[in-house]
């Protein structure tokens, strides 16, 4: 059966251990997690989580059912079922000395990134976009220049009136 990438958004009670229930569910049942982000929402009692996973339709159906079964989970939505926006933040520290500085600044501009830290020998570039855009940036610059990368994993939201709210 065809596997495809899904972005699952969920709202859960902002209680200690809630994250481990979700992470534990994925590991215990052998589901993939490509990335997972979690933070409180405007309502401090709720956390919003975005999980990127890969699986066949059957597996995704089970994942959603199993997530709904967790007592702390309030709502679950497979964002990829409808139109949605996906963003990820990446910070990349690159070696930037001499003529590399100009080139890296130019690349960052092309990808609509920003240099947010400048040191004698390095830049730190901030970039947001879909995961593929971030991958593309990393491929576009000289691999040996990359000193460190940190990515948040994807966050997602439905378009227009597709709203996940209690």
């Amino acid at each position: 059966m065809m596997s495809s990438r899904h972005i699952i958004s969920l709202l859960m009670e902002n209680e200690s251990g809630a994250l481990s229930r979700v992470a534990g569910l994925f590991s215990a049942r052998g589901y993939n997690i490509e990335s997972l982000t979690v933070a409180p929402t405007e309502d401090a009692t709720l956390s919003r989580m975005t999980i990127v996973t890969v699986g066949s339709e059957d597996v995704i159906e089970q994942i959603i059912k199993q997530l709904n079964k967790l007592v702390d989970v309030v709502k679950v939505l497979d964002l990829t079922e409808g139109s949605h926006i996906e963003r990820e933040l990446m910070l990349v520290k690159v070696r930037a000395a001499g003529k590399e500085r100009e080139e890296l600044k130019r690349m960052a501009d092309i990808f609509r990134g920003r240099v947010i830290d400048v040191a004698d020998l390095t830049y730190t570039i901030e970039l947001t976009g879909t995961g593929t855009k971030l991958d593309a940036f990393l491929q576009a610059i000289d691999e040996s220049a990359i000193l460190e990368t940190v990515r948040t994993g994807a966050s997602g939201i439905g378009r227009g009136d597709r709203i996940l709210k209690v």
Binding site: G17, R21, G24, D58, E61, K65, K69, V71, V74
Partner: protein
């Protein structure tokens, strides 16, 4: 008025109408035990190992339909309870486990008897809580009982640090629970139920397959009414036994790995399957690919959406409380002008009777060496099929399931999901305490019984007069059977050497022991054990059974349901 956390615990249990708390004291729960000492609303049963506390609470629930309660201390108390919790979890049994925890200030500092109980039990509970503030205690316990008993039931653990049991607060026990994140669906979709009724009426080769959900959902009556209304054949899973009267002609016996020939064949070859409170697990349908070879339409009723289309795709899923859904289904079928296709049904029953005539459970009745099946048959006769029967895990469990014909729900207690050896005796304790006047028999084996044998002491203390039927073949029988079939008869570590003298052992605990060595003595021994003279006593019957007896039919792991090995084929 303010109460300590410990007083709040005992008050909450009283509010919940708890009859028994099965437990074992220790440092972290001493405040709670002190309050237990001072109250008289519920009884505490002191087990000899925390595993048995949870098993007994679990059994109390299985036998009574109420929520079972266990109380253990922190650290090893909690870890010992884990097997019991996982056992209850796999069979969806509502149990509330209260565990002590080190004081909140010591959590995370590797304190004496500290263990992350919430972390350790997380994968095997329906939900768990760590109560960090005494003001949350009553509401949390209320939630625990609510979550354990509603929807698909299951165990809930409440971990209570010692300082929380000492802190004081106002006590208000909430009347109800409202959780935005937890609202199980109980009412089935009426459109789906209509479709199901239609599909059932169109069936040429119908089959009803009912699992533990029917017992847990108190829907045995509805299931029986539905089956009688349609005159359709019924099979029960291991967990569902008693959900349909086993002595009824429409009952084809248990299905699955050690199911009857007729049940498995009918399951494989039916054209419309009604699955009720069952989950198509690996021991029930064998290989899903093989099961899918035959065309059939499936209706699946379950309270847990994640049980539907997990291993087998179904055509009409109905999420809801099985009792409510069956009630609605019956109403529709009664109102319908259409009736089942009688001619097709007759042909189907003729086929089923042909399968039944294979007499797949036959065994050598002439044997002088005691056949375990014979003991179970006699037990059924002598207890008039009306005992609460518990079992451990292995061959004897399967023989109990095959040969003790359960006509009523909640009479059969075994670890179906987790397959926990050692449950038999604590299960018998829980069942007997729930039904003090009932006959309770524990069918076990010499290997399983040793895993919780210490509870003979608990039985003595509380005068729990269960009858232990030990089918002693000096082997871990099911392991031996697999080794014989699949490992070239290399019986690696499955022989039970150095067994105790069970008669003396029982006597040393203050019970009655019997050793039975010949078939001719079986009936008399059982009659004596179940006689009024021994009604108040625990009797340990040690039956020396045939070492080479195997459980048939058998579907080898990964094979299809209709690919059974039958006794005569060997």
């Amino acid at each position: 008025m303010e109460f300590t956390g410990a007083e709040i615990v005992t008050r909450c249990l009283a509010e919940e109408g708890v009859e028994f708390v099965f437990g074992y004291p220790g440092g972290a729960v001493l405040n709670i035990y002190d309050e237990i000492f001072k109250q008289n609303k519920f009884k505490h049963v002191l087990v000899r190992h925390e595993q048995a506390a949870v098993h007994a609470a679990d059994a109390y629930s299985r036998a009574s339909g109420k929520v079972g309660v266990a109380l253990v201390t922190s650290g090893p108390g909690a870890t010992n309870a884990v097997t019991g919790i996982a056992t209850a979890y796999m069979d969806s049994i509502p149990v509330v486990i209260l565990s002590g925890q080190v004081p909140t200030a010591a959590i995370g500092l590797d304190a004496f008897q500290e263990v992350d109980a919430v972390g350790i039990t997380r994968p095997c509970v329906k939900h768990n809580f760590l109560v960090k503030d005494v003001r949350d205690l009553a509401a949390t316990i209320k939630k625990a009982f609510h979550i354990a008993a509603t929807g698909r039931p299951g165990p809930v653990l409440v971990d209570i640090p010692k300082d929380v049991t000492a802190h004081k607060t106002e006590f208000v026990y909430p009347d109800s629970v409202s959780m935005r994140s937890y609202n199980p669906v109980l009412k089935g979709h009426s459109g789906q139920i209509k479709k199901a009724a239609q599909m059932l009426l169109e069936a040429k080769r119908p089959m009803i397959y009912a699992g533990g959900g029917v017992v847990l959902g108190n829907a045995a009556e509805q299931l029986t009414e539905l089956a009688k209304l349609l005159h359709y054949p019924v099979t029960n899973t291991l967990m569902g036994l008693g959900g349909y009267p086993a002595t009824d002609r429409q009952f084809l016996g248990m299905l699955g790995m050690h199911g009857t020939y007729e049940a498995n064949m009918a399951m494989q070859h039916c054209d419309v399957l009604l699955a009720v409170g069952a989950r198509f697990d690996d021991r029930v349908i064998g290989s899903p690919a093989h099961f899918a070879r035959e065309q059939r339409r499936i209706i699946h009723i379950d309270v847990d959406p994640s049980s539907i289309s997990k291993r087998v795709k179904v055509d009409v899923p109905i999420v809801g409380d099985v009792q409510q859904v069956l009630d609605e289904l019956i109403k529709l079928l009664k109102a319908s002008k259409e009736k089942p296709d009688e001619a097709a049904l007759n042909t189907w029953w003729t086929q089923i009777e042909l399968w039944r005539s294979r007499n797949c459970l036959k065994y050598n009745r002439e044997s002088e060496i005691i056949k375990p099946q014979y003991v179970v048959e006699k037990l059924w006769e002598i207890t008039k099929g009306d005992a609460f029967v518990t079992s451990d895990v292995g061959q004897h469990q399967m023989w109990a399931a095959q040969f003790y014909k359960f006509d009523k729900p909640r009479r059969w207690l075994n670890s179906g999901g987790l397959g926990t050896m050692g449950v038999g005796l604590p299960y018998a304790m829980g069942a007997q305490l729930a039904h003090p006047d009932a006959t309770v028999a524990c069918i076990t084996g010499e290997s399983s019984i040793q895993m919780c044998i210490q509870e003979l002491s608990t039985c003595k203390q509380y005068r729990i007069p269960v009858k232990i039927v030990n089918l002693n073949n000096r082997y871990m029988g099911m392991v031996r059977q697999w080794q014989e079939f699949f490992y070239g008869s290399r019986y690696a570590e499955s022989y039970m050497d150095s067994l105790p003298d069970f008669v003396k052992l029982a006597e040393s605990y203050g019970h009655v022991g019997m050793k039975i060595e010949k078939t001719a003595d079986v009936e008399a021994a059982l009659k004596e054990a179940f006689s009024p003279a021994l009604k108040e006593r625990l009797v340990f019957m040690d039956f020396q059974t045939d070492q080479t007896e195997n459980v048939f039919p058998m579907v080898e792991g990964g094979k299809g349901l209709s690919e059974m090995i039958l006794a005569e084929e060997l």
